[in-house]
Amino acid sequence: MSGRWSRLALRVALVILALVAPLLAPAFQTQMAVLWVMVLLSLTWDIMGGQMGYNSFGNIVYFGLGMYATAVVERNLYFGVEEYTDVAGGAAAQLSIGQYLTGFGLGLGAAVLVCLVVAVVIGYAILGLRGHYFAICTLGLALGAGEVANGWDYIGAGSGLVTPLLPEGLGARGIFYYYYFLILAALCFATLRHLYAGRFGLAINAIRDDEEKAEAMGLRTTRYKTVAWSISAVFLGLTGGAYGNLIGFIDPLDVAFSGGTLGVWMVLMAILGGKGTLWGPVIGAFIFHITQELFWTYLLGWQRVALGLLIILIVVFFPQGILGWLRERWPRFFGAAPDPANDPARGESA
């Protein structure tokens, strides 16, 4: 009984910590907001990459789409989008709180809609691909989307798009977005937890383990895959839409379709934490982001080189991730499944 109470107390303490953290350390509000962005990225990657065994390099597409959809709606609502593509002129626009929140809300709605439509249409088409072909196709998708955004004049092409500033009276920018991303991450986690525990989780795990058999058992695999892809798309769209506003400036290749940074990090974080587990991506995101914020600057420009090295090392030597390793080491405490074949952390070796 006491174990149960202490566990409950621990959970309550963690929730309270998450709620008050930005107030305790106001200097790090933006970094803490980005932490929840990382959690969201890695959680949504894991739906396909971990639970379903579909290695996607293209999830960043929805992040970028959401970001652009939100920004374009926000701009068009009160001003023409053309005024904003001009960096110097656009940045000065000042909105009232009501205007801003309306624009933000409608923008996020548009982001969800766009991501959902694209995910269902594209998903239905490309989710028939498997293995190498799916991975490279999504890589092409991400790179292609970046190139199109980079060449499309309406959304500012290579010179980017400035998002509206958060008006006075909504608190500091870091705080506002911290709570937005915290709530979104909690929502995403709860949704996934609910889904993984039920039929949906079993179905996508079956697809990972043996798609032929899953299909032979009567699962509508393409439908499940499209749903999984759409769930990631919606959450990524909501994340991207707000992330654009947090950053304040959307660059097509470095922020929106940033294959070299966020697009890779989401894969890395999920694998680091333990892909195919619920908590793994969260742990991976925390460890990765905190390490990055603390030590990255000491590497003086060699960060991204180190990142490549890190991916190789983790993939080759530590594919089970932190949670997978803990489960192997102390199966009793980390809830290993009784049958190793059911253990999601080991599923990929089968």
């Binding site: 088409a125 190498h132 190139e147």
Partner: protein
């Protein structure tokens, strides 16, 4: 779309685009052939393929900076990349040869990022090229101007490819490579040192990319972050042509070069890369759709 009008009004211009594209396509064929080799023998799709190409380009660029004619850069880049490929095999790739595809894809993706960022740190993010100083030749009374280096590059690419095919068909090691591709276990039982075969295959692939990169830096430009598009091109060529189909690889590569050149001209050069990626997706979907009608899929 205005450029489409130009093509209709001046048909001779499309001959120019066609020739330019075909000549550049031969360079793509080299990287694609290397990818097919590694894929066929080791069952690994090397995402770092494009980075090998760019690295080869930088080797030639550096040599040219020291006053060496970039044409000599072709064998030297190939040699340098052979060593790089061997080292990468010994450090990383040999650990993933027998592992599942998820691991090999992600590991080569990591190699790709590592090389990309390493080049960015070492050589900077600027666009570079090396001029072999061969001038241009006019055809059809000067209406068509082709840079001589493109013709030379085409010739070199064809010769390198032919040498490699002969090597695989005739030499002892080539036979071992082909045997391993057919059945690694049986080859091992018959005394083939498959580990060495894998190492050679991977290094040969890197060398091919190195030669291709030397040609790219002379005919075009290089930049640390444009490697992935070469990977995508190579992949696209291989899936259209099929593994182990040399003639198919060459024809497809030439076709891709020409198609890309036309697309770049008509859509505007900022969309040329986007065209390549969209074409990749279209080809994959079309192939898969054809197969799905027989309840099969690409594998």
């Amino acid at each position: 779309m205005d450029n489409l009008q130009i093509l209709i009004q001046a048909p001779i211009f499309s001959v120019q685009l066609l020739l330019d594209g075909l000549l550049v396509g031969a360079i793509f064929a080299l990287a694609a052939y290397g990818m097919a080799l590694v894929w066929g023998v080791m069952n690994i799709i090397n995402i770092a393929q494009g980075e090998f190409v760019i690295l080869g380009g930088y080797v030639t660029y550096l040599l040219a900076g020291h006053g060496i004619n970039p044409l000599f850069g072709v064998p030297l880049s190939a040699l340098a990349l052979f060593v790089v490929g061997w080292v990468i095999y010994r450090l990383v790739i040999f650990r993933i040869v027998e592992r599942d595809l998820f691991t090999s894809l992600l590991a080569t993706f990591g190699v790709s990022i590592l090389l990309q960022q390493l080049m960015n740190q070492l050589f900077g993010a600027d666009i570079q090229n090396a001029d072999a100083g061969l001038g241009t030749t006019g055809f059809a009374g000067g209406d068509i101007a082709i840079a001589n280096i493109k013709i030379v590059a085409f010739g070199i690419a064809i010769v390198v490819g032919a040498v490699l095919v002969l090597f695989l068909k005739r030499s002892r090691l080539g036979q071992a490579i082909r045997a391993t591709a057919q059945n690694a276990r049986a080859a091992r039982i018959l005394g083939v040192d498959t580990d060495r075969v894998y190492a050679t295959t991977f290094a040969l692939n890197a060398a091919l990319c190195g030669a291709a990169g030397a040609l790219v830096v002379m005919t075009w430009v290089i930049q640390p972050f444009i490697g992935l598009i070469y990977t995508v091109r190579a992949f696209m060529i291989v899936i259209v042509a099929g593994l182990g189909n040399v003639a198919g690889v060459v024809v497809t590569a030439l076709g891709l070069g020409a198609a890309e050149n036309f697309a770049g001209f008509v859509l505007g050069s900022q969309f040329q890369a986007a065209f390549v990626f969209v074409l990749l997706i279209a080809i994959l979907l079309w192939r898969n759709w054809r197969l799905s009608r027989q309840r099969r899929y690409l594998q």
